[in-house]
Each structure stands twice: as C-alpha cells, then as structure tokens.
Subunit: 250 residues, 2 copies
Amino acid sequence: MQKIAFIVSYDGTNYYGFQRQSELPTIQSELERALSEIAQEPIAVVGSGRTDAGVHAYGQVVHFQTRLKIPAEKWPLAIKNYLPEDIVVRAAYQVKSQFHARYDAVGKIYQYRIDRGLVPNVFQRRYAYHVPYPIDLNLIGQAIPYLEGTHDFTAFCASGSAVENHVRTIYRIGMREEEEQLLFTFHGNGFLYNMVRIMVGTLIAVGNGKIPAEEIPRILASKDRNLAGPTAPAHGLTLMKVEYPMSIFA
Amino acid sequence: MQKIAFIVSYDGTNYYGFQRQSELPTIQSELERALSEIAQEPIAVVGSGRTDAGVHAYGQVVHFQTRLKIPAEKWPLAIKNYLPEDIVVRAAYQVKSQFHARYDAVGKIYQYRIDRGLVPNVFQRRYAYHVPYPIDLNLIGQAIPYLEGTHDFTAFCASGSAVENHVRTIYRIGMREEEEQLLFTFHGNGFLYNMVRIMVGTLIAVGNGKIPAEEIPRILASKDRNLAGPTAPAHGLTLMKVEYPMSIFA
C-alpha cells in the first residue's frame, strides 16, 4: 500500500462543503468517487479539515491509501478526467504511512476577498464578497493586532461546534488592496468553525464604525458569540495552504 | 430624450454572444429587457460591436435613447437588480445625441488569457484557455512585430464575414506572464470576425514550433485563412476597452 497526499484546488460554489454527506455533492465524495473509479475498489480520503458549503480551496490537502502503483507525480493528470472541472488535483506526493492530513497539519492560511467596487466585478462574483459601502482601513488596521496571537476564540466560533478547546494562535492577519479588492489573509495554527468568516464580519463592522477597534479584547474575553460581528458569507473565503512538517515525505 | 452610454462588463460563459438572437440568451437582449422593464417601453441598445458566444467583456460600450430622466451616474445601481449577476453596468455617461457606440469607436483593446499550468486553475477555468504543453515565448516575441502595424488581415478573418475591407491597424500586441498565466493584449483600430482568436491560435502555433515566426508576413500576404493557425477558444478572450474621442460627452 502507498499513502498519497493530494493538494487539491476547488471552486466550492456548487458543493455542500468538503465533507461527505449521503446524497449531496461534496468535495470529499467527488474525490472518493474518482479515486474509486480509477482503483476499481472503494477509496476513502481524509482532508486537513472541512470547508463549509460555498467555501473554496486553492491548497486543501487530503490523504488516502491505495494499492495502485501510479507514481505520485502522475496523479494530477491521471485523475483529471475523472473529476468535474471545478475540482483539480494540483500536486501529489508519496507520504509516510503514518501521515495524517488532519492530525499532522501545523498551520493553515486562509484568504478572504472583499470586492469594494460600486457594482460587483462579474469575474470575481463567485470568489469575493461585495461590500460597496465605505469601510475605513485604518480602523481595521487598529483592530487586527488584537486578534493576532494566542486567544480563546469562543466569541468567534459558531455555536454547534463540538470542539472543546477554543484556544488558537493566529500568527498573522494580513490586509492588502488589489485594485478594487481588499484581501485578508489569516495564518494560524488552526481555526474554529466559522472563525475566519466571523473575524472578517467583525473587521468589516470595525471598518464601518459599528464596533470600536478597542472593543476586540473585551469581545474575546466575553466568549460571547453575540458580541462579535456577523459571519461574512462563504463565497469570499478560500483555504490557500495547509502547512506540515517537512518530515512527512516518504 | 437623453442618449446614455453604458460601460458593460459581462461573463460571456452562459450567453450566445452579444447580439440579439430571437429566443437565445444574449447580452444585448438582457440589456434591452432590463432597460425596457425600467422604462416601461421598448428600448433598443447598440453595442460597439459583437462579441462571440462565450467571449467576455470588461468594458463593452453600448448606447441607447430614453425619455427617463435618471442622472447618468445613477444608472449602474438603478439597473443592477434588473440584470443577471453575470452582466454588470460599470459606469454610465450622458453622451451627445449623435454619439454612436459602433461608428464612433476609434480603438479597441482585447485581452487573451492562457493558463500554462500542468492542470487548469479552477478559478480561471471560464476565463483562460488551458495550454499545458510547452510554448516558447521567445518565438512568439519574434512573431508579434509582424502582426503589428497596418495589414490586410484576410488570412486572420473567419470566412463568412460580410465586411469588405480587411485592412486593420494593430497599434500594439502585448505579452506578459502573470504567475502561471500568459496574457496577450491586442490594441487596434478595429478587429475582423475571430481575428484576435486566430492571431492567438497562430501565436501559440509559433510558440510550439508549428509555424515559423518569419512565416507571418507570407501568411498575411497570402490572404489565405488556411495558412494561419487555428482559432483559439472563445472563453480566453475579453473585450477590455473601447476607445472614443473625448468629444462624445454631452
């Protein structure tokens, strides 16, 4: 048996998220269907984590085991015609037998795109959240450092999450403008359910003056989801990269 | 009556081109439907030119006349909810009564996107032509100057075009790399039917060694469509800008 890790890119628009759900189209079920067709036996894949319905990925990581002896570098083209055009395997690696896409992940980078144009950019309408009203980037810049670092992010976690430990470390939140877009990047050791989208909703609320930047520490301390801003829509969010130690390669 | 010019952006993926065709969805018919709903009377729009099925626009220009007294700058938001999400009016101007979107155009800029990745970029799959085999940009760079300038472009025009004069001037063909993409821009005083797509198909054929760069002058002189390269697919092409003299504004 070989253990293979894929770096997978997908347009999440037409999927009910990453995770398999009986009859609904999901990224996991499409990958498993394609692999099982190629291998002529059921293959299950394990992802680095779920992405919600409508969320995209540039660098999701999954692993699976197979008896097939396809060299790792041949996998992206071998699987291409078995997958729909909105799911693409960008790269494949042979990894050690104990590798686990979720447990071994040491960091993740998400990007959130905001389209600030008066009217939406048609070419970005599936990948950027249209926010045509004024937002003050200086105010957002003041709020960001309060979110960076190690905190209990309960106030920034959707209720219904089964995870018990809500302490996470955010190494860096980047903000940059690219023509009419505003791009946030979130680099952390892990993220709770909806955490990035709630942080973005909160930063936008700071930017339009609804939440003072200096309130962020109190919101964190409250552990009260109701004090943070709204959950920004799924379609602006992309999982860019999952980080692993170098020692994973077979 | 006011004459209004729109700068229109559209994702052409789901349309049978710009021009009205009885029952088929086209950009023109969507614009006319939206305007007629707002005005409560039929309104016809005139475009700067057709775009083919599947071709996109960032800056198509159309004009129309209306009794409505909506100030020009209010039009983009006024029409937004009457249009599908893949057609957006980016800007609107009041123009002189004699303005004509097609006859007054003095230049056009098209962009053609090529995705050179091993596998397609899912986020660009509707807007870039995937060319995973090697193309030599130096060879293409040698071919470009032969196409620039004033020529009879009959060899680069799809048969079936009704236009009699096939002489056009290309001011500049730009080529640049952007990550895994190769972007061509074509700036000219006008383009024949399929001309940009045939030039791109020919430049790719030069880049992979099928057509020698120095053959271009002979292909132009031949006026034989069969000597030029294939027509590159529609979805890589975007009409970026239509140029007019400054004197058009009312």
